[in-house]
């Protein structure tokens, strides 16, 4: 850039318009964060941190992606940091309270009677139209251990590759599949318990 050494020119990259960020992206980023953390206060903090980090880094932004994609990528990294913090180190209260069930017979792998799937009766409906079902689904998701929920969210909401999830959250591929399976079996059982 020709004007790089000119001290008179403010160090604002003309590819970004920080004054417009709140107006253009705050709600979008807030929704993005809330969908992945289910925590309003944390989501507000994450939006603020994203804007501040973006202000720090905006001179490096080269416009290879849109402003919105760039901001979302910053937020995504911050959310992964939250996932990592939550699923490593000290076990939090929610994880400690999580009850492991024996869904299957340990000898032959049959469903144990108490946990056999039964039809919900809405298998062929559009689930998004069923507010009650969605309510239970969200409630049941929140009961999952943090690491499981992070894996589940990254896979289903963000369509991240298995490789990315494993490296970001530091789980082995074998453990990844065990988590995916246990998450679904637990989530489904929780839905059945509340729905029926």
């Amino acid at each position: 850039m020709q004007l790089e050494n000119n001290k008179e020119i403010p160090a604002v990259n003309n590819l970004v318009e920080p004054q417009q960020w709140v107006h253009k992206y705050a709600d979008y980023l807030y929704t993005f964060a809330f969908n992945r953390t289910n925590d309003e206060e944390l989501s507000r903090d994450l939006v603020q941190e994203t804007f501040l980090a973006a202000l720090q880094g905006m001179n490096k932004f080269e416009g290879r992606s849109t402003e919105s994609t760039w901001l979302t990528a910053i937020l995504k990294n911050k959310i992964i940091d939250v996932y990592r913090r939550k699923s490593s180190g000290l076990i939090n209260r929610k994880d400690a309270e999580f009850e492991q069930h024996n869904f299957f017979d340990q000898e032959d792998g049959h469903w144990n009677d108490a946990y056999r799937p039964q039809l919900f009766g809405i298998e062929h409906e559009d689930p998004v139209l069923n507010k009650e079902f969605i309510h239970f689904l969200q409630m049941c998701m929140q009961k999952l251990p943090s690491l499981w929920l992070s894996v589940f969210t990254m896979k289903h909401m963000d369509d991240e590759s298995t490789k990315t999830i494993c490296s970001e959250l530091n789980v082995t591929p074998a453990n990844f599949w065990v988590i995916i399976h246990r998450t679904k079996v637990n989530l489904r059982a929780c839905l059945q318990k509340n729905w029926m």
């Binding site: 403010p10 160090a11 604002v12 920080p18 004054q19 960020w21 709140v22 705050a26 709600d27 807030y30 929704t31 809330f34 969908n35 507000r44 939006v47 603020q48 804007f51 501040l52 202000l55 869904f103 299957f104 032959d108 792998g109 049959h110 469903w111 056999r116 799937p117 039964q118 039809l119 919900f120 809405i122 298998e123 689930p127 998004v128 079902f133 969605i134 689904l137 998701m141 589940f152 896979k155 289903h156 909401m157 298995t162 599949w177 995916i180 399976h181 679904k184 079996v185 989530l187 489904r188 839905l191």
Partner: protein, 88 residues
Amino acid sequence: MNRLKKIVYNCHKATFLIEKKQIGTITLREKIELKIHLAGCVICRIFQQQSILINRTVKELFQHRQMKLEDDFKKQLQQRIDEELTNQ
């Protein structure tokens, strides 16, 4: 018990394959084993239906949700950004 017999009677393994098949790949052999299991196991067929339902719901639900930050918080954010910009 041979391998085929094992999967035919093993719902734990079958549900694992159901999950793996939905978001990854399973081998041809696993596909056949799963098919045989599901042909004879109505309970795992229900599991599969509901597993697909859950994945679909999660995806759709979050695509459509739109939330709003409170105006006060937005004002604070704007002020903070303006301050940072003048300090730069």
